[in-house]
Amino acid sequence: MSAASKIALRGVTKSFGSKKVLQGIDLDVAPGESMVVIGGSGSGKSVLLKCILGLMAPDRGSISVDGEETVGFNDRSRARVMRKFGMLFQGGALFDSLRVWENVAFGPIQSDGMKAEQAREVAVAKLGAVGLGPEIGELFPSELSGGMQKRVALARAIAREPEIIFFDEPTTGLDPIMADVINDLIVKCVSDLGATAVSITHDMASARKIGHRIGMLYEGRLIWQGPVADIDHSGNAHVDQFIHGRAEGPIRMQVRKL
């Protein structure tokens, strides 16, 4: 395991019953790098992120963060490492019983013990960083459009200025223009923080924009990894089929014949 990696995975496997989702993932992400993992729906992209975060325990394999093995951590060590992470969930996962500013200030208040007054200022600043005015902070998440919810979720993910940020399908369900706004915000936030980022997506425009390096997840393995510039001449038929969105090719969707 290379000591320079921010995140290093070796032979990570995860099954649900008889369903093998991850079947031996090896992945290195360097400090300050933005890694994008692409793959079809249900290919295990979210499961991969949740294993790294410790929200799920992998069946086998090693996951290290800053050279520290995190598989099998107890609650306290887990909490310490969790402090390094920020996560933007697929559906936003905003707390619907709390106001927008309370959502953004949640990490600073609840786990870093910041006073509410000060955390509110932090929340307003972070909302500003994603292009939302302070008046939005008084609303509840259910009063916001999908694109605004994504931005609030982004503000919450960066509120504690994490070293590592994960983005789970940040542009899914948004119109192309809002998707590009989110892409720009992600690029800006990650570079402002100097953070390491891992994003998962099946939106190639997003992958090209936010990624330095791309890996493709297929049948539980990363079948190709390389710099973004190489994605168009990867020499891998699976990658080619995916990035061009063709129904014909080596990847067979499991759909019944009509």
Binding site: K50, L53, Q90, A93, L94, F95, S97, F106, Q110, R156
Partner: protein, 259 residues
């Protein structure tokens, strides 16, 4: 023909044991997290309001009609033996020992058990619980412990209120419908009332409060698969809490009153 039946019974017993084990493990973990800091005081207070204060109307209505019907029914029964004077006694003992805690808890189970399961279940399927964890907040401490604590603390208070309102209901029927002398009715009630009756009812209430909130939290926390999963969690929370209330009611009664 015997073998399939045995197989089915065997499978059901195994599934039952497995579920019991899972719930017990969940309960132990929840209690351990509840007694260790940090305590989320605001969460605890808002849950106490939700579970205790806002259940008062439902519990009060249940109690007053239960007390009234108890007086009426025991009158029609006891008049045959000219034992009408035992009515205040019957009302107060059955209310404080059994009907107060059991009926109030069943109403709260329907109201609160379902609400907790729906809320925590929705948080589970929309990844809000995972989000809590990534914000270094233990969902057991932030979501589950406040509800358990509120259940254990507020149910006895609710039941005490139910006892008083139920006795009042019996008194109203006794005095205005059955022509009891009001001071005699009250004196009878107080003479018969024993500390043990009320105390056993309050112990039951605390246990039921724990069971109701535990079932709501457990089914919500372990729910999966979207809206349908959350719906199932709500149903299961209410049904399992109700069954547990009846089961524990018997054993607590036995512990207090059986010789």
């Amino acid at each position: 023909m015997n073998i399939p039946l045995l197989t089915v019974l065997g499978r059901m017993s195994l599934a039952f044991l497995e579920a019991t084990g899972a719930v017990t493990a969940f309960a132990f973990h929840a209690v351990r997290q509840a007694v260790q800091p940090p305590y989320y005081r605001r969460q605890i207070i808002s849950q106490m309001l939700e579970i205790g204060y806002y259940s008062l109307p439902v519990v009060g209505l249940t109690a007053i009609f239960t007390g009234m019907v108890l007086a009426l029914q025991s009158y029609t029964g006891f008049a045959r033996f000219s034992a009408e004077s035992a009515i205040p006694n019957v009302v107060v003992v059955s209310l404080t020992r059994e009907l107060g805690p059991v009926l109030a808890s069943l109403m709260v189970a329907g109201r609160i058990g379902a609400a907790i399961a729906a809320e925590i279940g929705t948080m589970r399927v929309t990844e809000q619980i995972d989000a809590l964890t990534t914000l270094s907040t233990d969902p057991f401490k932030y979501l589950i412990a406040p509800r358990l604590i509120a259940g254990i603390v507020t149910l006895p208070i609710l039941v005490l209120v139910a006892d008083i309102i139920g006795i009042l209901g019996g008194f109203l029927v006794g005095v205005y419908k059955l022509d009891f002398n009001d001071t005699a009715y009250l004196r009878n009630t107080l003479d018969f009332l024993e500390f043990q009756d009320v105390f056993s009812g309050l112990v039951k209430a605390a246990v039921f409060g724990f069971l109701i909130t535990l079932m709501g939290c457990y089914h919500g926390y372990t729910s999966k698969g979207g809206a349908q999963g959350v719906g199932m969690a709500t149903t299961n929370a209410v049904v399992s809490a109700s069954i547990l209330i009846f089961t524990f009611n018997y054993f607590i009664t036995e512990a207090f009153f059986a010789r």
